[in-house]
Amino acid sequence: MSDTVVKKNPLSKYEYGFSYPDKSVFKTAIGLTEQTVREISAMKKEPAWMLEFRLKALKVFQSKPMPMWGADLSRINFDALNYYVRPTNEQGRTWDDVPSEIKDTYDKIGIPQAERAFLAGVGAQYDSEVVYHSVIEELTKQGVIFTDMDSGLRDYPDIVKRYFATIIPMTDNKFAALNSAVWSGGSFVYVPKGVHVKLPLQAYFRINARNMGQFERTLIIAEEGSSVNYVEGCTAPVYTTDSLHSAVVEIVCLAGSRVRYTTIQNWSKNVYNLVTKRARVFEEGVMEWIDGNLGSQITMKYPSVYLMGAKAHGEVLSVAVAGEGQHQDAGGKAIHLAPETTSIITSKSVSLDGGRTSYRGLLEVTPNAKGAKSTVRCDALILDPQSRSDTYPTMKIRQNDVTIGHEATVSRVGEEQLFYLMSRGLSEADALSMVVNGFIEPIVKELPFEYAVELNKLIKLEMTGSVG
């Protein structure tokens, strides 16, 4: 096999399953020890406090047991992973600066075109490092910072030190501790008071190396009265060995600000995707998580909103599709800590070809949250007898002046629905895909247009052959 041949599994329906030969310039040894953590930190020339933070987090990671709930994680072998893979020594400011194979990867995924068409800024992470970053000039003039987390730590140490790990402490859970110990890359976004970033900022995460662990760390701070829309996408090659993606995303939504965080997760089916995402929302702030989970072998991810200030609003829109061999354990959490806070959690999941979707969520109203309102709605579709769907919502209400509602349904595609569409001339496959698209419509309509088209296309691809 020649060096330049792009490997693609012809049997896979997964469009992004190709890989390029690993030409990384530096890798830590396989496995995770104190030495690994020290090497990563030294490579990044980090301040002493960050190295200390990492080493402490490593101890926390080693001391915490694996979670005993949720998806089956027993097959993760922490000793077989590569925790840091540096693909190149320079970060590009234009696509011409990016090494050609890495650039080809993003070309295939369609990133440079997307950037020209409709984005205000783009960051692209390849394995452990962000290889490309650009922001339109106008935003920089307004004081908006959009850079990778490593540069953020170097160039804006005060802001980073003030907020880093305050939303998700290293002791939060085993995988947050792991991320805290070996994090690399991710985005750092700072939007000054009153600034509205009109076009979306986009980050693109790609795993290329084999047996790789990707641990990006993202921090978004929206100052008073500002707004920003952040979009991330993820893909990886199809390998026969497993990779691990364990991110930590922290968001600070200050008074009156508005943050929307959109994820289209389309990892290949050999990736364990174990992510902690949380936002703190202050007075009259609005936080929206739009979370699409299509890929990965196992996903465990529950974006959370902590409503800290009066009248803060949080929303989680989650869509999950689980096909053969996949388990999507996704959901959302809303914790009401202040008066008149409101939240809406909407989850739509589809399982087919023996896949399993689970909704897992938490709604908590503390005594302080007088007049809180919350609605949780979970709908699941099961397309065949081999597939499975679970719903595990939890509600803790410690205040009587609240309005709380939760509803969940699990059902199949109605025969009448299919029959009606087929009587109008659609084939069974088209009718089924139309019903499924209609089912997830409430979430798709919130996506930027290009993503909505992409999501519909992916679901159609996923469903090919699932009829008859």
């Binding site: 005594p367 699941a380 099961i382 397309l383 065949d384 007898p385 597939s387 499975r388 769907s389 679970d390 719903t391 595990y392 919502p393 939890t394 509600m395 803790k396 209400i397 410690r398 205040q399 009587n400 002046d401 609240v402 309005t403 709380i404 509602g405 939760h406 509803e407 969940a408 349904t409 699990v410 059902s411 199949r412």
Partner: protein, 214 residues
């Protein structure tokens, strides 16, 4: 009653059970074409008493209805879980638990609907509503669905909240005092379910309801 109790329901007719005192674990095994109606007049304790009711629908045509009412007062504390397990096709479940919680009372409820692989054409609905009558009352609800068949219908709904101020306002515009209006609304909330209980099982609950709304 202590410990675990298991009871078989067979023979194809409809059977009624009132569980005045609930053991820690009570299991119903329901056979072919048999329906069982289970009524739970629920009482808590100072220390959270934990009870589990499990309904196993073992053969086609089995069905079960579970109806529970908890009127929590003082520091009454109740931990209740109701699990309905569909182990055969064409089985039907229905669970409805209502709680009116005053003072420091607390309800921890969890309710599972489980539909096994192959239990096609099964149908289940679980509902749990809590009326929070005091700022110190607490309601925890953990409903869950585990569905491994596709030709089924399974859903649950959970709600918790105070008396709707608009309902209160409406009744007051019709000439009732605030206290009378509250009493009427609490009664309405509880009696909707209570009226389905066998007559003798209603008495104790109605007495408690009287003290609650006095």
């Amino acid at each position: 009653m202590e410990g675990a109790v298991e009871k078989k329901f067979e023979g194809g007719d409809t059977q009624v059970v009132v569980l005045e005192s609930l053991p820690e674990q009570w299991t119903a095994l329901v056979g072919r074409d048999t329906a069982v109606h289970i009524f739970l007049p629920l009482f808590g304790g100072d220390v959270a008493a934990a009870h589990n009711v499990t309904v196993r629908l073992l053969e086609p045509g089995a069905s079960a209805r579970v109806t529970g009412i908890f009127l929590g007062a003082g520091s009454e504390n109740l931990k209740l879980s109701v699990d309905t397990i569909h182990e055969a096709p064409h089985t039907t479940g229905w669970t409805n638990v209502r709680a009116a919680l005053s003072d420091h009372s607390q309800l921890d409820f969890s309710g599972m609907i489980k539909i096994h692989e192959g239990a096609q054409d099964s149908n289940d609905f679980l509902e749990q509503r809590s009326l929070l009558l005091s700022p110190d009352a607490k309601a925890v609800a953990i409903p869950a669905l585990e569905i491994e068949a596709n030709e089924v219908k399974a859903s649950h709904a959970v709600a918790a909240g105070p008396i709707d101020p608009e309902h209160l306002f409406y009744l007051q515009t019709r000439g009732l005092s605030e206290v009378q209006a509250r009493q009427l609304l609490i009664r309405g909330f509880v009696e909707t379910l209570l009226r389905s209980f066998p007559a003798e099982a209603q008495t104790t609950m109605l007495e408690k309801l009287d003290t609650l709304t006095a």
